[in-house]
């Protein structure tokens, strides 16, 4: 089942993300990698937490972004997130589809997390 949530591209968050990723000044449009910040949304953190079996910890293994049109600063977007599980090796794969408020498809973000045994100190 898909998780749906609304997110906003705040200018301040774009500036903060750019400062942490090597931009001398924030570009006119948000960077393609900007949706990575939406992974801090509590609803998304919760679905990753619930999908991670006890004793395993997710580690970011791969990431993809696709765009039909650029993101815009100040705009709201609707995310539809679906989670898939792979075995051998164990992975979680989240596909987040990004839609404008009018329903138009804007892009997609695919997050691949490899599941490793939790280090002792992180349990």
């Amino acid at each position: 089942m898909a998780t749906r949530l609304r997110v906003r591209v705040e200018a301040e968050t774009v500036a903060d993300f750019c400062a942490e990723t090597g931009w001398e000044a924030a570009p006119a449009s948000p960077p393609a990698a900007f949706p990575a910040v939406w992974l801090r949304e509590p609803a998304l953190k919760q679905i990753f937490r619930e999908a991670t079996p006890p004793g395993l910890v997710p580690v970011h293994e791969a990431q993809k972004f696709f765009y039909a049109r650029p993101l815009e600063i100040g705009a709201d977007y609707d995310l539809t997130v679906e989670l898939a599980r792979e075995n051998m090796p164990e992975r979680l794969i989240a596909t987040a589809r990004i839609f404008a408020k009018d329903g138009a498809a804007v892009g997609e973000m695919i997050v691949t997390l490899r599941l490793f045994a939790t280090p002792e100190g992180a349990r």
Partner: protein
Amino acid sequence: MSAPPKAGEKIAPRIIGPFDAAALRAYAEISGDDNPLHLDRAIAAQVGLGGRPVHGMKILAAFEPMIFAWRPDLALIELSGQFLTPALEEETIALSARVAKLDGEVIVLRLTAQTASGAPALIGEARLRASEN
């Protein structure tokens, strides 16, 4: 758009880092990737790492300003990367990119990040086309 690039053209490389614990904490806060592996040296040591690993997404995202500096008239329509050898705090990371091919109006770049020891930290791809702005 100015003249399209040619296959094989190399983009000016960049060195990023070294990143300290504060930089990793700052990226964890903006991205929400607060996996303790990136933040706690003792936990990193438990999995055999000699330091806290830099977030792979922080490395992948660092290609964008490099690409923008090369061709600000192009816009990214795809960006992807696989995170391979962990790049550790307090070491530099070398970013390089070249034009792999032209696919109609789309320019395909191959992206590579290497750790200070030359191990592949990331391999990736970017697809660009003329910016509408």
